[in-house]
């Protein structure tokens, strides 16, 4: 099965705590692991994805590099506020290749997903792709 990229499904990154114009947050949802969003120093770092409609999500897969601790929050509101905690995970360090982690979200419905990177294995970390399983 070919999974469509999140942006082709109408999703958007509405908040990102770091900005390098050569590595914009849109790279997270373009379905391509070669493009990435890079954090530009200090933690925590976060980004928020908004879906076009409330979406049932059983799991989310994150392709990243040097992310150590990740928290995921969600809401079912039109606004990117008042999030509720869903899960958190300590990711293993990889060298020379991306971290790829499936994070179960238990089929909950969401309009926004908020990813908070509370720590990293380096000063800078990158997120290459977020994809969802319905």
């Amino acid at each position: 099965m070919i999974r469509s990229s999140l942006n082709s499904l109408g999703a958007k990154v509405v908040v990102a705590a770091s900005s390098d114009e050569n590595h914009p947050p849109e790279s997270i949802i373009d379905g391509d692991t070669k493009t990435f969003w890079m954090t530009t120093g200090m933690f925590p770092q976060e980004f928020i994805i908004r879906f076009a409609d409330p979406t049932n999500i059983t799991a989310v897969t994150l392709d990243s590099y040097n992310v150590k601790h990740l928290k995921v929050e969600k809401n079912i509101s039109q606004k990117a506020s008042q999030f509720e905690f869903v899960t958190e995970k300590e990711l293993e360090q990889t060298e020379g290749h991306l971290q790829s982690n499936a994070i179960p979200l238990n089929g909950s419905s969401a309009t926004h997903l908020r990813f908070i990177i509370t720590s990293g294995y380096d000063h800078f970390v990158s997120v290459h792709r977020v994809s969802i399983q319905n």
Binding site: S19, D20, E21, N22, H23, T33, F36, M38, T40, G41, M42, F43, D63, Y65, T94, G96, H97, L98, Q99, S100, S119, D122, H123, F124, S126
Partner: protein
């Protein structure tokens, strides 16, 4: 164009001039505190540094931490996750230079193996008649610790922005390096 953010720890013995230096840097040389007032906790100063020949900048969160030994432990709790180190000693005090190795040990233990770029600063070049630490000696030790060495005078406004500019540049190079590594990564 990118704006980086770095948390820079400023440490060294009490009264070597850490706060004077950070205020000089922060105010672009407008403010030298004539009266000594010991820092008893941690002071946070924010300063944006442009990286020459680029459109990039580094926002430095300078953590000016008390040097007095009885206060250090309490201050350590407020250091947070560090990106850069600025270690300062007084050129007229051999003891403050000798203690730099203790400061390095403390910072290394705190960072738990994470590499952070750093500079060593010999302050008070204006008091040349009372100098106790020779530049070559300080330079050699700095090199052995992987630090870049600078001499400053906060009072005479001499060279005060050099240490923090070189730290900002080191952080910027680190970012560039990491970008390149990230671009060459294989799939997960």
């Amino acid at each position: 164009m990118v704006k980086l953010r770095a948390r820079c720890l400023l440490v060294g013995d009490a009264a070597v001039g850490k706060s004077a230096l950070s205020h000089m840097f922060h105010s672009d040389g407008a403010l030298f505190q004539k009266n000594y007032s010991m820092t008893t906790g941690v002071e946070l100063l924010l300063k944006c540094v442009n990286i020459p020949e680029t459109n990039d900048s580094v926002e430095l969160y300078i953590i000016d931490s008390a040097g007095k030994d009885t206060l250090v432990e309490a201050c350590e709790k407020m250091w947070g996750e560090l990106s850069l180190l600025c270690l300062v000693f007084d050129l007229t005090s051999e003891q403050s230079f000798a203690n730099c190795s203790h400061w390095m040990e403390r910072v290394r233990a705190y960072c738990q193996g994470c590499h952070i770029p750093g500079v060593l600063v010999g302050n008070k070049t204006d008091l040349c008649a009372r100098r106790e630490v020779q530049a070559s000696v300080a330079q050699e030790w700095a090199q052995s610790q992987g630090l870049e060495y600078h001499e400053t005078s906060a009072k005479d406004k001499e060279n005060c922005d050099a240490p923090l500019l070189s730290l900002a540049q080191a952080f910027h190079s680190l970012y560039r390096e990491r970008l390149e590594t990230t671009q060459n990564l294989g799939p997960g």
